[in-house]
């Protein structure tokens, strides 16, 4: 498609960015960035965390003003900088943000329509029926059936993403415009993701352009036409046709070096069962028994709602089960007991790395060191003194081990990039040398470099004899890490994969189990 356009009478590009730079004080986060997205093009934008992708999006949406000298044009018309949100909307540029920007205790239609409410002339009352209909129409265009009166906080990750996409796309006129997706696919699992890309393709076919920002290189390679790679705020390569690319070459461009591919390594599983779960009953899961050996890495996966996530949360102590018992090195914990906190689990050597790192894992306003040492501050400190030495040692060890940047123990966690926050969260629990490590989506929305550091750290923990449980939808992670994968479906273990795992087999088992269940019901 792009070749034809280049050969033809050169329609102006949908989006043209040239000479765009941005500095925050001495830090130059964007340097002379240029980028072209043609009409009807699906353009990928990749780079590690902190490479400037988000800053670029924020300039395009008028959150930041670029340094003088930059140029941004849509359909050949230059936009004045900084970009005014009204001008941005008029030019047909819309964004689905990384954090989705949804208000959890408001309904779907309120979230979609916020800022656009049509009020009655006299009463200034919002016409709820029309609003709801408008929202239903947008969702229907996305092929989603979501109850528009549902509160957003109660929706699944997939539906939340759909709501955010609906909000961004509601004013979209077919055949024009540019939609920027900033990590919008990260909560979407296999099927939902392919439906999402179907939507993208239909938008593209209707003439819209899409700028897709994603950490998932395989989806960039698979769905985009061309790709732009950013590294340290500068464009490494722009407009590369993805047909000629694979993930490895993209990674190399992003990192500026060859990354040793983390293949599977020898299992470190020993023969003695360190942890066992007996008769676990939680939600749809009934009477589940699991044995986990020392050094073993056990994956739990399935489609959304299959029950694997609930199992991990119950084992980790995050939520109460309806019944069951966990035994860790001979110490029994009643999983159905009502508890105020996970103290009993922590004392028994269970570590739980939560999925939503800033809601469940780390306090953003407090420092890296305080967050890292929290689970041990009571046991390792004295009642009247937390003790500095052990905290400094633990923090330094984890900063070095996980390559946390910036390496300041006193930096508030909220100032770190997502990948580094995830490393702090992992370090918080690894520093306690747990016997059983339970992780939920440990590499969600982190860049390639951080993912490798995290995978290495998990392996090292297993090598040290720790039993590891990973609940994840990411088949690639499970394939390189796990000794054994339990595939859940409708609350039961539908398949148990062992031996040399590969990504495709896991995906296959997941969706095979999912559909069989669908037919059976």
């Amino acid at each position: 498609m792009t070749d034809q356009q280049e050969g033809a009478a050169q329609p102006p590009p949908r989006l043209e960015v040239a000479r765009l730079s941005k500095a925050f004080g001495p830090a130059r986060v964007l340097r002379d960035v240029h980028l072209r997205v043609g009409p009807g093009e699906l353009h990928g934008l990749v780079g590690q965390n902190g490479c400037g992708k988000s800053t670029l999006v924020k300039i395009l949406t008028g959150v930041y003003s670029p340094d003088p000298g930059g140029h941004v044009a849509v359909d050949g018309r230059a936009l004045s900088l900084p970009i005014h949100p009204v001008a941005q909307r008029a030019a047909g540029v819309c964004v689905v943000h990384q954090d989705l920007g949804l208000i959890d205790d408001r309904t779907v239609w309120e979230n979609v329509r916020v800022g656009r409410y049509q009020a009655g002339k006299l009463t200034r009352k919002i016409n709820r029926r029309e609003e709801r209909q408008a929202v239903e129409q947008v969702l229907a265009r996305l092929g989603k059936t979501v109850d528009v009166n549902q509160r957003v906080g109660l929706l699944s990750t997939e539906d939340r993403a759909a709501v955010a996409i609906a909000r961004a796309m509601q004013d979209h006129r077919p055949g024009t415009g540019l939609i920027i997706f900033d990590e919008s696919t990260r909560g979407l699992t296999g099927e939902a993701r392919s439906r999402f890309f179907d939507i993208l393709r239909s938008l593209i076919d209707a003439g819209a352009s899409v700028l897709l920002i994603s950490h998932r290189l395989e989806e960039i390679v698979e769905v985009t036409h061309r790709v732009t790679v950013l590294r340290d705020g500068a464009v490494v390569e722009t407009g590369l046709p993805t047909k000629e690319l694979d993930e490895a070459s993209l990674t190399k461009m992003m990192l500026g070096r060859h990354l040793v591919t983390r293949g599977r390594v020898e299992s470190h599983a020993t023969d003695d069962a360190i942890a066992s779960v007996r008769e676990l009953t939680v939600r749809s899961v009934k009477n589940l028994d699991i044995e986990i050996r020392g050094g073993e890495i056990l994956g739990l996966t399935g489609v959304m709602g299959a029950g694997y996530r609930e199992v991990a949360e119950a084992i980790g102590g995050a939520s109460r089960a309806d019944g069951g018992e966990l035994t860790v090195r001979g110490r029994a914990i009643d999983l159905a007991k009502r508890r105020g906190c996970t103290e009993e689990f922590v004392d028994a050597g269970v570590a739980f790395v939560a999925e939503r790192r800033l809601d469940e894992g780390l306090a953003a306003e407090l420092s890296v060191s305080d967050n890292l040492t929290l689970p041990r501050v009571r046991r390792r400190g004295k009642p009247l003194r937390t003790g500095r030495a052990w905290q400094a040692a633990e923090t330094a060890a984890m900063i070095a081990k996980l390559d946390i940047k910036p390496p300041h123990p006193g930096a508030p966690v909220g100032t770190l990039s997502g990948g580094n926050q995830q490393k702090v969260l992992l370090g918080k629990w690894l520093a306690g040398a747990p016997d059983l490590l339970v992780l939920c989506e440990p590499t969600q929305a982190v860049d390639v470099g951080a993912r490798h550091d995290i995978i290495d750290a998990i392996r090292e923990a297993a090598r040290g004899g720790c039993a590891v449980v990973i609940a994840s939808v990411d088949a690639a992670d499970l394939a390189v890490l796990c000794d054994r994968v339990l595939v859940f479906s409708g609350g039961r273990v539908a398949a148990e994969l062992t031996g040399d795992l590969d990504q495709d087999a896991i995906i296959h088992a997941t969706f095979d189990a999912g559909t069989r269940k669908g037919v059976a019901c």
């Binding site: 102590g317 306090a363 953003a364 407090l366 100032t415």
Partner: protein
């Protein structure tokens, strides 16, 4: 378009990441209020021809604020663990301060048993607040607003709207004993503030309190007993209000329950002003302590200039808004 050749291009050395000195980052924000305090003293000293720089002025400022110190620390207890905001602190204080003289003067109790009962009553109210907020899950503001009004009413009924005086003179010694020219009650406040500051900064309990205040879910999943800490904060808030009341009654020799309400704004003004001092953007005991004396200096100076009692309302309200605004702006720029 050979992608494999592109990465071979040598890239200039990685952009140096600015090394931020986190400790000194907020220097301006930390000490802005203290600088204004110094400036204020200088201005008063200039305009009042030595009237302000009189030993008596400083004695007045530093000997009169013990009730506020105890009440702000009580408020900090619950604010630090994320409870916004305990409106009942001045009422609990007033309740305890009424119970003590009523028992002694009207019912002939000994002063020590009466003091003990006053403190226990305040602790019981704190525990009731804690039960309703933490266990039952009622909104903090609603519970404490209701509790505040209820207790003030009960105190007025007990005292029959009168000032109760006639406490034995020996009792005053626990508050008014002269230490280095200032009453011992000032030192209680200093010790309490430093102790609380130490607790938050250096003990595991204080660390847990900070995390509960920052995120209950993160704390719960890290093995912190969230509800125990929240409940305990309400109980300790009651305890501090009660003990503060006993010392205040000893200092005054009497108590007028209609004055309880007048503490509400100063307590909040000083506590919020404290977020602009030492640790910008964070509630902290030492900042709060400085805030109390900052406010009192300003008001006393204005009163010495001949302004009337209304000046305290204007000053408390105005300073609160301005100081917190400035601290927020400084904090944002530094971040």
């Amino acid at each position: 378009m050979e992608p494999t050749t592109i990465p071979a291009e040598p890239t200039p050395a990685q952009a140096p990441r600015p090394q931020r000195a986190w400790r000194n980052r907020h220097f301006a924000a930390r000490y802005a209020v203290i600088a204004v305090w110094a400036a204020m003293i200088a201005v008063y000293a200039g305009t009042e021809h030595g009237l302000f720089f009189h030993a008596g002025t400083f004695q007045t400022i530093f000997s009169s604020q013990q009730p506020l110190v105890f009440m702000t620390m009580a408020l900090l207890c619950t604010i630090c663990v994320g409870e916004f905001v305990d409106l009942s602190v001045p009422a609990v204080f007033g309740f305890a301060a009424t119970v003590l003289p009523v028992l002694v003067v009207n019912h002939g109790w000994g002063v020590w048993p009466a003091a003990l009962v006053a403190v226990i009553a305040a602790v019981a109210v704190g525990a009731l607040n804690g039960f309703l907020v933490v266990v039952v899950g009622v909104n903090t503001i609603v519970v404490t607003l209701g509790m505040s009004t209820l207790l003030t009413g009960v105190a007025l009924w007990m005292s029959d709207l009168n000032t109760i005086s006639g406490l034995p003179t020996g009792f005053q010694a626990i508050a008014n004993t002269d230490v280095g020219g200032l009453p011992i009650s000032l030192y209680y406040g200093v010790v309490l503030t430093l102790g609380f500051g130490y607790l938050l900064a250096f003990t595991p309990l204080g660390r847990h309190m900070r995390f509960v205040g920052a995120s209950r879910e993160v704390s719960r999943l890290s093995g912190v007993r969230v509800n125990r800490i929240r409940f305990g904060s309400f109980v300790v808030a009651g305890l501090l209000s009660g003990v503060g009341a006993v010392i205040a009654v000893a200092a005054l020799g009497s108590y007028n329950p209609t004055t309880s309400d007048s503490y509400l704004l100063p307590v909040f003004a000083a506590t919020f002003l404290g977020t602009a001092i030492i640790e910008p953007g964070r509630f902290n005991p030492i900042g709060t302590f400085v805030g109390i004396y900052f406010l009192e200096t300003g008001i006393l100076g204005l009163q010495l200039l001949g302004l009337q009692a209304w000046v305290s309302d204007v000053f408390y309200g105005g300073v609160l808004v301005v100081a917190v605004t400035i601290a927020t702006l400084l904090h944002r720029r530094a971040a």
